[in-house]
Symmetry: D2
Subunit: 312 residues, 4 copies
Amino acid sequence: MQLGLIGLGKMGGNMAERIRRAGHEVIGYDNAPGKRDVDSLEALVAALEAPRVVWVMVPSGDPTRQTVRALGELLSEGDVIVDGGNSKFTDDKVHADELAPKGIGYVDAGVSGGVWGLENGYALMVGGSVEDVAKVQPVFDALKPPVSTEEQTAGEAGAGFVHAGPVGAGHFSKMVHNGIEYAMMQAYGEGYELLAAVDLVEDVPGVIASWTQGTVIRSWLLDLLVLALKEDPGLDRITGYAEDSGEGRWTVEQAIENAVPMPAISASLFARFASRQTDSPTMKAVAALRNQFGGHAVHAVEAVKPEAEKPA
Amino acid sequence: MQLGLIGLGKMGGNMAERIRRAGHEVIGYDNAPGKRDVDSLEALVAALEAPRVVWVMVPSGDPTRQTVRALGELLSEGDVIVDGGNSKFTDDKVHADELAPKGIGYVDAGVSGGVWGLENGYALMVGGSVEDVAKVQPVFDALKPPVSTEEQTAGEAGAGFVHAGPVGAGHFSKMVHNGIEYAMMQAYGEGYELLAAVDLVEDVPGVIASWTQGTVIRSWLLDLLVLALKEDPGLDRITGYAEDSGEGRWTVEQAIENAVPMPAISASLFARFASRQTDSPTMKAVAALRNQFGGHAVHAVEAVKPEAEKPA
Amino acid sequence: MQLGLIGLGKMGGNMAERIRRAGHEVIGYDNAPGKRDVDSLEALVAALEAPRVVWVMVPSGDPTRQTVRALGELLSEGDVIVDGGNSKFTDDKVHADELAPKGIGYVDAGVSGGVWGLENGYALMVGGSVEDVAKVQPVFDALKPPVSTEEQTAGEAGAGFVHAGPVGAGHFSKMVHNGIEYAMMQAYGEGYELLAAVDLVEDVPGVIASWTQGTVIRSWLLDLLVLALKEDPGLDRITGYAEDSGEGRWTVEQAIENAVPMPAISASLFARFASRQTDSPTMKAVAALRNQFGGHAVHAVEAVKPEAEKPA
Amino acid sequence: MQLGLIGLGKMGGNMAERIRRAGHEVIGYDNAPGKRDVDSLEALVAALEAPRVVWVMVPSGDPTRQTVRALGELLSEGDVIVDGGNSKFTDDKVHADELAPKGIGYVDAGVSGGVWGLENGYALMVGGSVEDVAKVQPVFDALKPPVSTEEQTAGEAGAGFVHAGPVGAGHFSKMVHNGIEYAMMQAYGEGYELLAAVDLVEDVPGVIASWTQGTVIRSWLLDLLVLALKEDPGLDRITGYAEDSGEGRWTVEQAIENAVPMPAISASLFARFASRQTDSPTMKAVAALRNQFGGHAVHAVEAVKPEAEKPA
């Protein structure tokens, strides 16, 4: 089939390549002239035969909103827009409602796979109507990982793709995926730190590498941790500074919205916030309180040292 | 080689089978007469040629301590005892120090793999001297998973086995493994609960199955969650009651001992504690306080209902 | 001065009483006919001399929004509306912006004190312009606690009242107050539970009562816990079921919005969520996973019992 | 009555002063010659009439253990040793068991009050037999805060002193007190940080000062936070570095031992650990993982900057 693809960055470019390898025609557009096949959204739409499928793969937030809106002006009844970016699921309903009066369909697709997706395939979590999803299905089939019975204890037919529900369900599922990811990374991190903290364990990278087969905690993330420790066994060349994208925050917000206890994922999110602070106002207040009731002189910013006498 | 194996339960029995399949001779002993090859520890020791290797695979705590002590009376210089159970790592040093004057070696081996180990192999985290570990190596090689270049992004030679350090390092590493396991399970659980809490996601088992390929969070535990949801899609037949064995507790204790922040793993441990309470004294106190300052009548145990007016 | 007061429930009624005791005239309106002085908003506005001050003390959300909007139609340039309810601070800016073109001022006032406020005074956290706040100041002075040099180590002039900043700052400050409250209650609750869990401590209510003088943790909430334990020493007549109002949720949401690590307050919020669940889907998933890798039969909902063998 | 007091540091010296003011005779001993009344433990014991009461107020751990042991050699049947330091409650049973064959009594006393205790009185949580506690009661009465009906909503007779149970119950109760203290300080700290993070709140010290009267969260610690903010309104002169003494760790350990969920107190403990790290190995691992699956170059220790593209 034909696909219009907007956004040819690292993710979009690789996805275009994978879709083409599966025999489909991809007409790509990007703000930057380098790799694009057409020079404008208008030209993109003109180059596609109706009913058209246009996949938007640009940064979430305003860039995606503007692109979807612009496409809404150009497309026709029966066409479908797919938002494959990391949009908040609440945007999807807004988009779908704007497009519906024109008869333009809307599908949200959460995409996981990162730089490994070109070769391994991309996992896809999709929301939309049955009809709209069906129009995009050949592209989803091209993108998703092949079913490998060898590799899988479970899943088979379902692995790598799901039509999760109506519009928004795809991005919601991807959001939860990323929340889980935060806590898994935190779990490995905490375990790594404890191993590294004791003299007893002499070969920390070896222990972690040993976990990659036969254990209960083997995973793809663990394989990546082994790779990272091969490159830098003590993680000496990297600082403990971790960004967060929106999905982790939205996951915890949705937990709050739905009264779901979420202690591990929220702890992981907060650990990322803390990792980016040069000093903690919370702990300044704690230190100030200890000084007050313990009667110690205030610790100067310039010269902090452990206290000789510990009041609490 | 020859191996004496004490404890022929679910784990020990399967391990004996896997070692035998690799061509080694296993002489098994168990308190229960059913499957044992010899009728006493004395007979076990007599049946092995020196230098002997005796693997203890009995419940941790007193049963293991008593067995190691009894073996210490029966074995000779150059023999080696392996504790493959879930012992606390602090026991290992005690055992090794007791055996050292007699010239008996001691190796601690953390074993992961559960009921799947017979077929998939067992991951082994080992502590002890180079000499003692070498005496057991053929058995370790028989137990550990085969190296599969297909299945692995990383690890290769190291996967499934590590000599982590001196006596105690094996059980310490296995303890940390289990701590990580707690937080990974909690992470998947929290994500599952949020998906299940919203109407938007219509196919929760499908979403989770889709994650098993191509995603960042794919893992063996995730495969197992897919299996569990196939058997019971809403987990309606099971209650949220989760035991904990010692390792999770010890992991957090060691974090405290070593001043390692461990928010996600500890949250997972506490969630298990809470899962087993019929009511929470903490939350009774919180409810009592809200009643006090909000001026509400105390809620009777028999008839709790949401409050009409929420004070805080 | 004259004050129009809308909402004569438990809080509003007591506040009217306290303001009257200070010598001011309060004209009260409520949907319910019982205690109101006038029969309609129109009558309320007509009864007040310009410039008018009208205090809205109705449930947050739509009731408050509708009341403020209705007042906006009735009031005149130079009048001021005070929202003293538990509104989300983001509503305040919306209200102020709607009223500004008409020259009607807006002040948000977070009020703390509960049923004890009539006698002890109400703590007030206020947002708005200097001019608008000044118009309400006599009422604030009537409501706030008296300055008692005996009772206070700190604070003096500032105690019980603050003009925290522009519109919204009052409700924001009250929101944070309530977030802190959650964690303080959780802290006492956790301590209470640990004391109650051990045989060693024979007089738990006595220990908690002893903390009310001379300790670092003495507080008004602790005094209330003592009262609660006098009425019900084992908290046997109350269940551990704790509602939450919006402020705790909003506090954590704002922490996320501002990348502030908030582990203790969020843990307290999640503990409340959990307190209201009859079973935990998260822990169902954890239990299901343990069953899968440990090889145990699935635990029936009807008959859950501790496992004989603990796999992890 | 007569009291022997060992340890005349900041705490012990002030306590001696308060006991003397109540009309009792205190014979003080310290390793340092400055303020002591006698030159040796032997001289101390000789100076006291039987039955003697000797209060040990030295650093917990070995110094206390050695002092108690030495006193055990010198005292006689019917005498009583009081350990008023911050000992772990598990030490108390050991001490009592050592002293029992000689007929020497043992009382453990958790003491709270810090530098304010001399004037305000010290809160006392006491463990031991009824007979032994009775022998020390006049000293306890001298140390504890006066009962002030004005200041108290609750407590009266019980405030400031409790005989919590047998040997160990005093230190156990003090340990829990300190655990609660950690979470209260963390709660105020988190609230302070959120207030300080937003532009909306223009007078953060003012907001906190306003909370000291009429609010649900008023407390002595809050009064101290107001004092700290008066001295340094932005806490600019102090770093967020917070020591922990043993009690917080022991509290969480006991929670684990007794399967008590303790999310807020443990989060507060871990926040202190993190406050003392110059970099976090956990977050190094998290950052390394993000780099691996996101395909980003590893961030150098020298030049970390926010990522242009956020993979997760």
